[in-house]
């Protein structure tokens, strides 16, 4: 029969909605209340030093709204007001300087879209399929348009020694300080001292009022609440670059300074938290791809666990060190699928399988797991995180 939603006058078509200013700063409509960050409580000892995950299974396009972009804190998200903000540049400089927030706004600004991925993204999956959802397996990532001043500008302002063998040590104003050492070549290349994301001020949880943006490199180096930049002769070898964020190989030796995030992709829908609900027929398979080495050039999708592949459509041409959205507009016959995606970047690198990664690194790496992910989509449209031969 006829659809009453069409044939009957609905309240929203008769009465009135909210006036302007009902919500001076709006949040998503109530029907979207499940599109939120989530954490995995057993991962860490305490939510103050922990991580949560972006609901990538429920988002589309490439820009991550700040309100649901994953958070990682080492001693909690602090409240630091702009008037209390100071940024020091010292060390091997002609003149050590202190900037206020207002000072930073007077330098020439740049705008760039970059992804920020925690080195531990997908880290729980090394030993086997563990977490059932793209949010949990791949949600330690976000992608924002940043506005800020290049780190190079601030280093030059202080008359820093910019020789290629120097290092830049950066730390935050929070109790963890989360200090990291960055080689000068990278510091001068594309590192940004950012104060806006997606057009508005950074959120508290992302380092308000100022954070570092280190394009293509692991998220831990994107120091939040940035308070100090020191030019040095060598790396500090801080806790976050020795005890953590180093990669133990099978023989017990460990890789260090593994800063770049290699090319990676994941199908975000269908996926365990985003099952197929419409039965057989037209189906949009979609996902995200990214590379810390530059642009994504191609993404292939397999429905049979990697036996055959077809090339997906990129929503837009891949952008440097930013998320790329891909679509495979397909027909689903209602049978089981083993869905995979495989990214390639401008260097010719091809995203490896988990077996290939394990062959080189063993099982104990924790960080930098960029393996091909498999979702088992069942006949009823539900999906599960699996590993395949």
């Amino acid at each position: 029969g006829p659809d009453p939603l069409i044939t009957e006058v609905q309240p929203w078509a008769q009465g009135l909605g909210d006036g302007v200013d009902a919500t001076p700063y709006g949040l998503p409509i109530e029907f979207e209340s499940d599109v939120i960050r989530r954490n995995v409580p057993w991962l860490t000892a305490d939510p103050i030093s922990s991580i949560n995950f972006t609901p990538i299974h429920a988002l589309d396009g490439t820009i991550t709204p700040q309100g649901c972009a994953f958070e990682r804190h080492h001693s909690g998200a602090i409240e630091l007001a702009k008037p209390d903000y100071r940024l020091m540049v010292n060390g091997l400089v002609e003149k050590p300087l202190v900037f206020t927030y207002a000072d930073l706004e007077r330098f020439p600004r740049e705008n760039h879209v970059y992804f920020c991925e925690c080195a531990a993204n997908t880290g729980m999956e090394w030993a086997g399929a563990q977490l059932n959802g793209a949010q949990f397996t791949h949600g330690m990532i976000h992608n924002m348009e940043y506005t800020g001043v290049s780190l190079r500008t601030l280093l030059e302002e202080a008359g820093a020694d910019l020789s290629g063998d120097k290092w830049v040590y950066v730390e935050g104003a929070d109790a963890s300080s989360n200090g990291r050492s960055i080689p000068m070549e990278k510091a001068l290349d594309d590192v940004l001292v950012a104060f806006k994301a997606n057009g508005e001020a950074l959120r508290k949880e992302h380092g308000y009022p100022v954070r570092l943006v280190v394009p293509g490199w692991e998220g831990n180096m994107w120091v939040k609440w940035l308070r100090r930049i020191e030019v040095m002769d060598g790396p500090v070898e801080s806790r976050e670059e020795t005890s953590k964020y180093t990669d133990v190989m099978e023989d017990g030796s460990a890789r260090k300074w593994t800063w770049v995030m290699d090319a990676k992709s994941v199908v975000t829908s269908p996926s365990p938290q985003s099952p197929i609900t419409h039965g057989a027929g037209p189906l949009v398979i979609t996902g995200l791809a990214w590379s810390g080495h530059g642009r994504i050039t191609r993404v292939d999708v397999s429905k049979d666990g990697g036996m055959t592949w077809e090339t997906a459509r990129l929503a837009r041409e891949g952008e440097n060190k930013a998320l790329t959205r891909f679509y495979l507009d397909t027909e689903w016959d209602g049978s089981e699928m083993l869905l995979q995606s495989r990214a390639m970047d401008e260097t010719g690198y091809v995203q490896p399988t988990k077996a290939q990664l394990r062959e080189v690194r063993g099982l104990n790496s924790v960080y930098h797991n960029n393996c091909i992910q498999t979702w088992h989509v069942k006949e009823n449209g539900e999906a599960e995180n699996v590993e395949v031969s």
Binding site: M88, E156, E171, E387
Partner: protein, 322 residues
């Protein structure tokens, strides 16, 4: 090009912030500390999370042990088994520990704690004294255990080029399923609940509202912020559990040392009596002065306003926990 922005950093300012210590000892403040002193300081300042023998409590990091496990299935990465530089330990403790009370330790205390962590890893003897003079003489067991990122040589060449598109494998089997492990958090009813249900649920805790009427909401809100210092070890409110410290629901009016299942210090367990506001205020201002021997590794709240605010918050949060 110079923009002439910013001002020159003063030496005192640089000294206050430039605390990092490098592997060659650059940045070490003058000072010293013994294993013996470190044992006591560690027990008080670090033991609640890291264990009095640095063995770790619950999910908190183990700082000792794990020798020879790095090639095992589950390597135990501690200061002794994994950390390549001693400077990292000093640097991190000095700047960022204890958790929730960073930069409260003197240089000598940090030397002592570092010495004790070395001792707990069998790297030095019990009569060892660590100082800025002998710091770089300590040999870390895993100093040679690291190599610089070699992915460009060992991985990129083999994972490049035109990938297979057809007949890439003969067959595919599922070898593991996430649902077998069942470690994925449930999406809780609370977050998925439609707005109508939430509204219906709201007026429930009426009794609690009456009790909290006596608490100044602004003071309680201020106390909630101060309580962040405490929240590394203590929980309060609905579902609060004992962690490094006992849960604090109903603390005002509760028996001292009275939470079942929490291992109190002898001092606290044997004290008797109840926590009234005056006792609690004295304890919060000076924990170890008020209850000598308490396990609570916290220096105390220096401001009277903060003490009052935290007590207001504890009362408020306890009431809302019902």
């Amino acid at each position: 090009e110079s923009y002439g922005l910013g001002r020159e950093a003063l030496p005192e300012e640089i000294a206050a912030w430039d605390l990092d210590v490098s592997p060659d000892g650059t940045g070490l403040p003058p000072g010293s500390g013994s294993v013996e002193d470190g044992e006591a300081i560690f027990a008080e300042a670090c033991g609640a999370c890291h264990g009095v023998f640095a063995e770790g409590v619950g999910n908190w990091p183990k700082l000792a042990g794990g020798d020879g496990t790095l090639a095992n299935e589950d390597p135990v990465k501690t200061v002794g088994s994994y950390w390549p530089y001693l400077s990292t330990t000093f640097d991190y403790v000095h700047r960022s520990m204890p958790f929730g009370n960073a930069q409260s330790l003197t240089a000598d205390e940090v030397y002592a704690i570092t010495a004790y962590i070395l001792y707990s890893n069998f790297i030095v003897e019990d009569d060892f004294v660590l100082s800025n003079d002998n710091f770089t003489e300590v040999e870390m067991p895993n100093a040679d255990g690291f190599f610089v990122d070699d992915r460009a040589e060992t991985e990129y060449p083999i994972w490049s080029g035109e990938p297979c598109m057809q007949n890439c494998k003969d067959s595919v089997e599922i070898t593991m399923r996430a649902t077998v492990l069942d470690v994925t958090p449930e999406e809780t009813a609370e977050e998925a609940a439609p707005a109508a249900e939430e509204a219906a649920a709201e007026p429930a805790p009426e009794a609690a509202v009456e009790e909290t009427a006596a608490v100044d909401p602004e003071l309680a809100a201020a106390g909630e912020k101060v309580f962040r210092k405490c929240s590394a070890c203590h929980q309060v409110g609905e579902g609060a559990k004992n962690r490094a410290g006992p849960q604090l629901n109903g603390i005002v009016g509760r028996d001292i040392g009275g939470v079942d299942g929490f291992r109190y210090s002898g001092t606290m367990a044997d004290h008797g009596g109840v926590w009234d506001e005056a006792t609690l205020a004295a304890f919060l201002a000076d924990p170890r002065g008020t209850f000598k021997g308490t396990k609570m590794a916290f220096a105390g709240l220096k401001k009277e306003d903060d003490v009052a605010a935290v007590i207001a918050y504890l009362k408020d949060a306890s009431a809302n926990a019902n």
